[in-house]
C-alpha cells in the first residue's frame, strides 16, 4: 500500500469515528437541552390550548393590527429556510469546497424552519379546524394559495435535498453502527434503500444532486418572493412596494447565513468538531455574511429612501413612526445593530473568529426577527382612513403572554427538530472524495 493510500485509510477511519461518535454517545447536556426545549413547547402548547378555547381574543391582535407576531414569525421562518438553497445550490454550483461540511447543517435548518413556518401559520388561523378548506375550496387567484403551493413544494424539495446528501451516510450508519437500538437500525436500513456505493448508484446520485442544485434555486427564490406578495399585493404603507420581493429574499439569505454561523458554533462546541468546522470556516462565512448583508442593505436603502423622500400621506406617517416615532428604538436597533454595525465589524479579521462572529450573528438574527415585526405591525397601524371610534385596545399592539409563549415554543420546535436530526445523522457529510495531505487538520488535530 502506497503512502498516499495509508493516509487516506487513516483519514477515513478518523473521520468516521469523529463524525459518528455523537450518534452513539448521549451526553447529559443533550438530555437537559432536549428537556428544556420540551418544557418550552409544553408551555406554548398551554398557550395554544387557551387560544383554541377562547379564540384569537387571547392575543393582542385586533381589527386594525389584524396580523401580529405570528405572521412576522412566519416570515422569519420562511426567511431562515432559504439558507438550505444557499449552500446546496449557490455555493455548490460555484464549486466552493470550503462550504461542503456546512451543507448538511444548512439543509437541516431549512427543513426545520419550513416545518415551523407551516405550524405557525396554522396557529395564526382563526379557524384551524377548517385548514383543509384551503384544498377543498381552493381559489387559485389568492396569493395565500400560491404560498401554500410553494411552501409545500419547498418542504418536499428540502427533504429530498437533505436526503440526497444523507443517503451514503445513512448507509454508512447502517453498516458501521451496530451498538444502536433496534428502531434506529431499522430506520437506517429503510432510509439507506439498498445503497452500497455501487458506481452506478453513485453516478445516479450525482445526477440527482445536480438536478436538485439547479431546481431548488428558483423554488427558494419563489417561496420568499411569494411570501412577500402576501404584503405587496395590498395597499398598506410599507407593503405597497415593487421592491418587496428582492428585499425579502436578500434579507432571508443574510438571516440564514447568520443562523448557520450560530449553529456552527454550538455544534462545534458540543460535539467536538473543532477539526471539521474550523476557524477558517467562520472566516469564510464572515466574508459571505458581509456580502449578503451589503445586498440587503442596498435593498433596505431602496425600500425606505423613496417613501422617506416623498413623505406621501400615510406612507409618510408610517416612515415617521419608524424613524422618530413609537417604533424608532426598535427600528434603529434593527438597522444599526442588526445590519450596519455587523457589516462594519465583520470587515475586521479578528471579528470573524468563532466567538465574536457568533455574537454578531445573534444580533443579526435578533435584528432579522424584529425587522419582520416592523414590516408587519406598523404598516397595519397606518390605514388610509383614520382609526376612530374603536376600543382603546385596538390602537396598540403589545403581544400577550400566550403569543409570546407560542412564539417561543415555535423556536423550541425549530431547535428540537434540528437537535434530533443532528443526533440521528452525521452532521458533516462523511463520504467525500478529496485529496488528503499529511498536514490535513483532521490528522493533526490535538485535542
Amino acid at each position: 500500500m502506497s503512502k498516499q493510500g495509508e493516509h487516506k485509510q487513516e483519514f477515513n477511519d478518523r473521520r468516521e469515528k469523529d463524525l459518528l461518535r455523537h450518534i452513539l454517545k448521549t451526553s447529559l447536556s443533550y438530555k437537559l437541552w432536549v428537556g428544556f426545549l420540551i418544557l418550552v413547547i409544553l408551555i406554548g402548547t398551554y398557550g395554544y390550548y387557551r387560544q383554541l378555547k377562547y379564540g384569537l381574543i387571547v392575543t393582542a391582535m385586533r381589527d386594525y393590527t389584524s396580523w401580529g407576531i405570528y405572521i412576522s414569525n412566519f416570515v422569519f421562518f420562511v426567511a431562515i429556510s432559504l439558507v438550505g438553497s444557499l449552500f446546496s445550490s449557490i455555493l455548490k454550483l460555484n464549486k466552493n469546497e470550503w462550504s461542503k461540511p456546512l451543507t448538511r447543517i444548512s439543509e437541516i435548518i431549512a427543513v426545520s424552519a419550513i416545518i415551523c413556518a407551516i405550524v405557525i401559520i396554522i396557529v395564526d388561523m382563526g379557524r384551524p379546524d377548517r385548514f383543509f378548506y384551503v384544498i377543498k375550496y381552493l381559489r387559485i387567484q389568492s396569493p395565500i394559495i400560491w404560498d401554500v403551493i410553494i411552501i409545500s413544494t419547498y418542504l418536499v424539495i428540502s427533504l429530498i435535498l437533505l436526503y440526497t446528501s444523507l443517503l451514503p451516510d445513512v448507509a454508512l450508519c447502517r453498516d458501521r453502527l451496530t451498538a444502536v437500538p433496534k428502531w434506529k437500525k431499522k430506520l437506517y436500513r429503510i432510509m439507506a434503500i439498498n445503497w452500497h456505493n455501487d458506481p452506478k448508484q453513485v453516478a445516479m446520485l450525482q445526477k440527482v444532486t445536480k438536478i436538485l442544485a439547479i431546481s431548488v434555486l428558483p423554488v427558494a427564490f419563489a417561496i420568499h418572493t411569494v411570501t412577500s406578495w402576501l404584503f405587496a399585493t395590498t395597499w398598506r404603507p410599507g407593503w405597497d412596494s415593487t421592491n418587496l420581493g428582492p428585499y425579502f429574499v436578500s434579507g432571508a439569505f443574510m438571516a440564514g447565513a447568520a443562523a448557520i454561523i450560530i449553529a456552527m458554533y454550538f455544534i462545534r462546541k458540543f460535539i467536538n468538531l473543532n477539526a471539521y468546522i474550523t476557524e477558517s470556516h467562520f472566516d469564510k462565512m464572515g466574508k459571505l455574511l458581509v456580502l449578503l448583508s451589503l445586498v440587503y442593505l442596498y435593498f433596505n436603502i431602496n425600500e425606505y429612501l423613496g417613501p422617506a423622500f416623498k413623505m406621501v400621506g400615510v406612507e409618510g406617517e408610517h416612515i415617521t413612526e419608524l424613524f422618530v416615532g413609537k417604533y424608532a428604538p426598535m427600528y434603529w436597533f434593527v438597522q444599526l445593530g442588526g445590519l450596519v454595525l455587523p457589516i462594519v465589524l465583520l470587515l475586521f479579521k479578528g471579528m470573524r473568529r468563532s466567538l465574536p462572529i457568533s455574537i454578531i450573528s445573534t444580533f443579526i438574527i435578533l435584528g432579522a426577527w424584529f425587522k419582520r415585526f416592523l414590516i408587519v405591525i406598523p404598516s397595519l397601524q397606518h390605514p388610509y382612513l383614520p382609526i376612530q371610534g374603536v376600543d382603546e385596545s385596538y390602537l396598540h399592539y403589545n403581544p400577550t403572554w400566550e403569543e409570546w409563549t407560542i412564539t417561543l415554543a415555535s423556536f423550541a420546535w425549530f431547535l428540537l427538530i434540528i437537535t434530533v436530526l443532528i443526533k440521528l445523522f452525521p452532521i458533516i457529510p462523511i463520504q467525500k472524495h478529496e485529496h488528503v495531505s499529511k498536514r490535513h487538520p483532521i490528522l493533526n488535530f490535538q485535542k
Binding site: G55, S66, R130, L385
Partner: protein
C-alpha cells in the same frame, strides 16, 4: 323632482302647528299612555321556530328577530338578487354625526358598540379646510381587493354588486382585512357577544356570528330581498344616505327619490380614493353648504 320632499316638509309643518295648539289637551293623556306602554313591552307572543319548536318571545324583541329569517342560506346567498346593482350615495353636507345609522346597524347585526360595521369618521382634508363627518361602511367595490385575496372564496362578489362573507367557510386568515384599504372589516376575535342565537346561519345577515371569522357591512340583503332599504338608510334622521338600484338610475334616502346620474352630476359626486382602482359602489357628495355646523360634542353621539 323634489316635490316629494317638499310635500313631507309641509306635512311636518302642519303637524307641528297642530301639536303646539293641543299641548294642554294632550297632557292629560300622559299617564294613561305610560302605563299602556309598559304593558306592551312585557307581553309575549308564541312563535314557531324553523326547527319546529314553539317559543315565547317578548313583543319588544319581535321586530329585531323578524328580519333574521329572511336571509338566504349560504349557497343561495352567493347568487345575488337578479337584475339589480345596488349603489349608495352618502351626502356629507347633511351628516351631523347623529349616529342613528350606527345604532340601527349594531342592533340588527347584533354588534357591540366597540366594533361597529359603520364608522362615522371625523375627517379634515387639510389644516385650513373645515372638518366634517364621514359615515363609512363597506364600499362593496367592483374590483374588490378582499375578494381577490381570499384563499377559499369565503368572501365573494355577487351579481347585484354586494360583497358578502360566508362565515361557515372563512378560515380566519385575515388576509382580506389586510387587503382592504378602507378598514371595512372586523374580526370575531372571541365568541359572539349575543351567545347562541338559535337561528339558521345566513351570510346575508351575518347571523349568528361565528368566532374566528371575518365580518363587515353587508348592505342588508335580507331587507333588499323585500324591496326594503338597509337599516342605516332608513334610520338616518337627516336623509344623509341614499340607496338604490344603479340599473334603475334612482336612489332614495327614504324621503326623496332622485336620479342617481343627476345627483352625482349636479353635486359633484366622487368615490373615496378613486386612484386605488377598487371601483367602490359607495359615492360621496362633497361636504359643501352644510346643513349643520361641525360639532364634536353632539348630544346624540355621546351615547356610543
Amino acid at each position: 323632482m323634489e316635490d316629494n320632499e317638499h310635500k313631507t316638509d309641509s306635512r311636518r309643518g302642519f303637524l307641528k302647528k297642530i301639536s303646539t295648539g293641543s299641548i294642554l289637551a294632550a297632557s292629560g293623556l300622559a299617564f294613561s299612555s305610560l302605563s299602556s306602554c309598559k304593558n306592551k313591552s312585557t307581553e309575549k307572543t308564541t312563535l314557531l321556530t324553523p326547527d319546529g319548536k314553539l317559543v315565547q318571545v317578548p313583543n319588544s324583541e319581535i321586530e329585531a328577530m323578524e328580519h333574521l329569517y329572511h336571509g338566504a342560506p349560504p349557497k343561495e346567498a352567493r347568487k345575488g338578487i337578479p337584475g339589480k346593482k345596488f349603489v349608495m350615495v352618502v351626502d356629507l353636507s347633511k351628516c351631523k354625526n347623529a349616529r342613528k345609522c350606527v345604532q340601527a346597524c349594531d342592533k340588527h347585526h347584533n354588534l357591540t358598540p366597540d366594533r361597529p360595521y359603520i364608522k362615522v369618521l371625523e375627517m379634515q382634508d387639510n389644516e385650513e379646510s373645515s372638518p366634517y363627518w364621514m359615515p363609512k361602511k363597506c364600499f362593496q367595490c367592483d374590483n374588490p381587493p378582499c375578494v381577490k385575496v381570499c384563499p377559499v372564496g369565503a368572501t365573494f362578489k355577487r351579481t347585484d354588486g354586494i360583497v358578502l362573507i360566508d362565515n361557515e367557510r372563512c378560515i380566519g386568515c385575515r388576509f382580506c382585512m389586510a387587503a382592504c384599504p378602507y378598514s371595512a372589516r372586523v374580526f370575531n376575535w372571541g365568541n359572539p357577544p349575543e351567545g347562541k342565537l338559535d337561528i339558521p346561519y345566513s351570510p346575508e345577515t351575518s347571523l349568528p356570528s361565528k368566532h374566528g371569522t371575518v365580518a363587515k357591512c353587508d348592505f342588508c340583503p335580507d331587507m333588499l330581498r323585500q324591496d326594503k332599504l338597509p337599516h342605516c338608510v332608513s334610520a338616518c334622521p337627516n336623509g344623509v344616505i341614499y340607496f338604490g338600484n344603479e340599473l334603475e338610475d334612482a336612489v332614495t334616502n327614504g324621503e326623496e327619490t332622485v336620479r342617481l346620474s343627476t345627483l352625482l352630476r349636479d353635486k359633484a359626486g366622487y368615490r373615496y380614493m378613486e386612484e386605488l382602482g377598487t371601483k367602490p359602489r359607495v359615492y360621496y357628495l362633497p361636504p359643501v353648504d352644510r346643513l349643520f355646523p361641525f360639532e364634536k360634542e353632539n348630544s346624540e353621539n355621546k351615547t356610543s
